[in-house]
């Protein structure tokens, strides 16, 4: 039940992902981007950060890393593959997920809490959530505006591939009701899956939201769901 956390040069949420995985009792290992073999791993996480400095375009250069061929193979075999923040950008750049992530409309890196509505609870990452549940999860990115052409968007919606959507806060004391979409994403998209439902990308950071001590708990079910899914397959 081992999860690979891929380390590109410039990844910086790699250790945080390992920490969150271990917290729910999953085995996790860092895998350097030049690795050509993911044998023995049941799932992979592409963590947040600034792979290759995010130079040229966030995620643009990491798609050429040798390990990506293996990530693709894992995805094709139906194993769970998760891209968080920069990892999401890498997955779209690599064509493992449709669309692209463009510069936030506010044109700057933004680190703050956002609210997400869970649109699907039948995925290996979301069985622990209630349908329509609203989560508080932090974001930290400069290029998170989800974009795709109209057809792709339509298809995403029809296939129910949108997993998380930015939403207004549940109570007014917790922030503004308008302006809840932090980056200008189309259809308030914060996270999507591929058609098969095993490759997920999201801009917010569930791995930062797994401990009450840090003020969050809503990211925990993400990882416990993943654990259950992996155990179900393993068993």
């Amino acid at each position: 039940m081992k999860v690979a956390v891929i380390q590109f040069p410039g990844s910086n949420c790699d250790q945080d992902a390992v920490w969150a995985l271990k917290l729910v009792g999953l085995e996790a290992e860092l895998v350097w981007h030049t690795e050509k073999n993911l044998e023995g791993f049941q799932a992979a996480i592409l963590p947040g950060g600034f792979s290759y400095g995010d130079y040229l375009r966030a995620g643009a250069l990491a798609k050429f890393s040798p390990v990506m061929a293996e990530v693709r193979r894992l995805a094709q075999r139906g194993n769970p593959v998760v891209g968080i923040c920069n990892g999401f950008q890498v997955l779209t750049e690599a064509g493992l997920l449709p669309g692209a992530l463009l510069a936030n409309t506010n044109l700057h890196f933004t680190c703050k809490d956002v609210y997400l509505r869970v649109e699907r609870t039948d995925l290996p990452f979301t069985t622990g959530y209630q349908p329509g549940q609203v989560l508080k999860i932090p974001i930290a990115h400069g290029e998170g505006r989800y974009y795709s052409d109209a057809e792709t968007l339509e298809r995403l919606e029809q296939n129910r591939q949108v997993v998380f959507r930015y939403a207004p806060p549940p109570s007014s004391a917790e922030g503004e009701a308008d302006g809840y979409n932090p980056n200008g994403s189309l259809n308030d998209i914060a996270g999507i899956v591929n058609e098969q439902g095993n490759v997920l990308g999201m801009m917010p950071h569930p791995e930062r939201a797994v401990e009450g001590l840090l003020g969050y708990a809503d990211g925990l079910p993400f990882f416990t769901s993943l654990k259950q899914a992996l155990e179900a397959v393993g068993a």
């Binding site: 945080d16 920490w19 950071h205």
Partner: protein
């Protein structure tokens, strides 16, 4: 010889008496390269020639101190085998010339100092000073603010170290000379502390980015007044590369983890020259550098350019015997250059070789031991006059409700969210108290129940009017901020930003500032473990206020017991430690409402300060207090308003005193702390305050969505929403 300065000396801009000293130390005339080695090593930035005699006054020992001043960073013990390394560093002049890259490279530089101690950087803070946002100068100020914030965000976010705190002040005296100081805190195992040392015959490796013509002469540049000439120095601007910075950090720390290296040193100001010569000097040895081996980015670089280059993202590593290949393999894995460019020699000289020829050879102690200066200071009489101004006749404002809104909307008191939202303050998943939630940031130490609290502070208005008091307040307030979240202050780092020490007024301010720090250090029992000096922040028509940016690190032994600043529970009682009466002298109120910067800052009572901090820590440590906030600029009313904002929870407060209402509401005084406590615990809490011999008052109760203040003759009331509106807007306009 006076009239006939040798042309070389004139070109290098070295004072004649220093040149003579160089000739004496060498026993001969230096060649051009050697002269420049002296120029950079004897600059204030590298040699502390004006500040060293004064800095000796600062206490630097204490039970927690593992490494005091003198290394790349100070280190304190935080228990369970862990230690933290921290230091503050200025990047003022580069930021004035090119704000984005100046700030970015400032962040990169301080991170490398922490890494050089063998510590994993876990937090960044910054302390910024700008001129006016209004009036015709506002455009340039906004340009600088945007650039500096972008630079800090660019570097810190990408390298993956959370920026968890800082402070920003706007004051007209920084118009021509903004200040950008960055502080970094790193975590290490106490027994893995590294120093800048090497043993005989060891090869010395250069690791990281290649050397280009970046920032040539930067260290010397930093020690000069900004002038028209700075324009022409522009081509030498250094560009930060957080991506390479991250790889360099990982190689260095992994090499330490695998025990491959015996010594570590960053390449900061004055690049190869200072890093190698200082390491040799500290090791009691000499070093021979072969310039042909230095990785170069550009062709045709001459020895002088190589020696003075301040290219970023470079480190010096000294492998343990037999581990050279392992180090090279490790660096190759990250795609970095790792080249033995030098080796340690017995003869205590710094020898530079290029193409088989010795191009410079200088005794290491000569470079290290710049002459020091003790000067005569004298206060600028205009400041004494401003201080002496009588404030008794000050008119009372008509509408006190409006005054609070104006204060909350002043650039020095308004919300900092537009700034800190641009910084990743959570990467690393250790940030327990994020910016905006507490007076200090709290970081947990994974695998323990412990945490550290960090804060940097300095009030330029106090320091301008009374440098000695200002410095005392800076340390007291930074420590108080750490105490009110529940942390016990352990030690501090200080970034001393002052004017030209060669002028009597500049020297007066520097020496008074250090004297004030020394006094407060002793009284509060807090040692200094690292710091930085940035002098010559002065030009023909301006001098910055002396600005001692004090960064305090404190320990929370049990993270369960901590406090934040916002009111959290309706029904809790609001208690004030200290007196409700504040002083108007040097206050933010006086400036914002009356346009005056005058009077004397309040005189700190350091013994009471220590007791107030101990008391609030005790209350938090017992688990009785979850909300606490120090009363700083803007006085009681502003502090209460700030407590309403985080959770949109109001309070009803009654102030009983015959003092002027503006002094009660907006006057400032040290050692004051507001906290809330459950009714059932009130008596016990009060007993703690009595045991500590502290004046205190129960002011009122938390609840509702309004802040109400009942005064002897009037009732003031604001909705929390109105407070927020005033407070939110001003910096949003600068950073949309």
């Amino acid at each position: 010889m006076e009239g006939t300065l040798p042309p070389l000396v004139q070109e290098a801009g070295i004072p004649l008496h220093e040149y003579r000293e160089i000739v004496r130390l060498l026993g001969r005339e230096p060649n051009r390269l050697e002269l420049y080695l002296f120029k950079v090593m004897w600059s204030e930035h590298c040699s502390y020639k004006n500040s060293r005699p004064l800095l000796k006054l600062l206490p630097n020992e204490g039970p927690a101190v593992l490494q005091g001043p003198g290394e790349n960073a100070g280190v304190v013990d935080i228990g369970e085998g862990w230690a933290v390394a921290f230091k503050i560093e200025s990047h003022n002049h580069p930021s004035a010339v090119e704000p984005v890259q100046g700030a970015a490279t400032g962040v990169g530089g301080i991170i490398r100092d922490i890494v050089a101690m063998g510590a994993w950087p876990i937090a960044l803070l910054n302390s910024l000073r700008f001129g006016k946002l209004d009036g015709p100068e506002g455009d340039r100020t906004r340009y600088l603010v945007r650039g500096v914030v972008e630079g800090i965000a660019h570097y810190g976010n990408a390298i993956g170290v959370p920026t968890v705190g800082g402070e920003v002040y706007f004051h007209p005296d920084y118009q021509d000379n903004p200040l950008v100081n960055a502080m970094c805190v790193g975590l290490l195992r106490a027994d893995e502390l590294k120093r800048s040392r090497a043993t005989l015959a060891r090869p010395v490796y250069y690791v990281g980015s290649k050397t280009g013509r970046d920032g040539i002469g930067g260290a010397a540049f930093a020690s000069e007044e900004l002038s028209e000439e700075s324009e022409s120095k522009r081509p030498s601007v250094q560009v930060g590369d957080p991506f390479m910075g991250k790889l360099t950090l990982e190689v260095t720390l992994e090499a330490i983890r695998q025990d491959l290296v015996e010594g570590v040193q960053d390449m900061g100001a004055a690049g190869l020259t200072s890093s190698l010569s200082e390491m040799a000097h500290k090791s009691g040895l000499g070093i021979e550098l072969n310039l042909d081996r230095v990785p170069k980015r550009e062709t045709g670089m001459n020895p002088l350019e190589l020696m003075l280059s301040e290219s970023q993202e470079r480190m010096v590593l000294v492998p343990r015997p037999g581990r050279e290949k392992d180090l090279e393999t490790l660096a190759a894995r990250f795609g970095l250059d790792a080249v033995p460019v030098a080796h340690m020699i017995a003869e205590p000289v710094f020898r530079v070789v290029a193409r088989g020829q010795t191009v410079a050879e200088v005794p290491t102690h000569a470079l290290a031991d710049a002459p020091t200066y003790v000067r005569e200071g004298q206060e600028n009489p205009a400041i004494a006059q401003q201080r002496a101004r009588d404030l008794n006749g000050l008119p009372l404002p008509q509408n006190l409700e409006e005054v609070l809104l104006r204060l909350l909307a002043s650039p020095n008191l308004c919300s900092r969210a537009p700034i800190f939202e641009r910084y990743d303050h959570q990467v690393g998943t250790n940030t327990v108290l994020v910016p905006g939630k507490g007076d200090a940031a709290i970081l947990r130490i994974k695998g323990t129940g412990r945490g550290i609290a960090v804060k940097v502070d300095a009030n330029p208005r106090y320091s301008k009017l009374a440098p000695r008091l200002g410095a005392m307040h800076a340390l007291a307030e930074a420590a108080r901020n750490v105490s009110v979240v529940g942390g016990k202050p352990l030690a501090y780092t200080d970034g001393l930003n002052c004017g030209n020490p060669e002028t009597p007024a500049g020297y007066f301010e520097l020496s008074e500032t250090i004297a004030g720090l020394a006094e407060a250090s002793a009284a509060l029992g807090l040692p200094v473990v690292s710091g930085n000096v940035s002098l010559y922040n002065e030009g023909p028509s301006y001098r910055i206020p002396p600005t001692p940016m004090v960064g305090v690190v404190g320990l929370l032994e049990n993270l369960e017991h901590r406090a934040e600043l916002g009111f959290q529970k309706a029904g809790e009682l609001v208690v004030l430690i200290g007196s409700p009466e504040g002083h108007l002298g040097a206050s933010e109120y006086l400036w914002v409402v009356h346009g005056l910067e005058a009077g004397t800052p309040p005189a700190p009572d350091l013994a009471q300060e220590a007791r107030a901090q101990a008391a609030i820590r005790e209350l938090i440590g017992r688990g009785w207090v979850k909300a606490a906030h120090d009363v700083a600029e803007g006085g009681l009313a502003v502090a209460l308003a700030e407590m309403c904002l985080p959770y949109s929870l109001g309070a009803t407060i009654e102030v009983r005193s015959q003092a002027r209402p503006d002094a009660l509401l907006f006057g400032e005084a040290p050692s004051r702390i507001l906290f809330t406590v459950d009714q059932a615990l009130l008596q016990m809490a009060v007993r703690v305050l009595e045991q500590h011999g502290l004046p205190h008052q129960i002011l009122g109760q938390v609840g509702g969505d309004r802040l109400t203040i009942l005064m002897p003759k009037q009732r003031l009331e604001w909705s929390v929403a109105a407070l927020r509106k005033a407070w939110d807007a001003p910096l949003r306009e600068v950073l949309p």
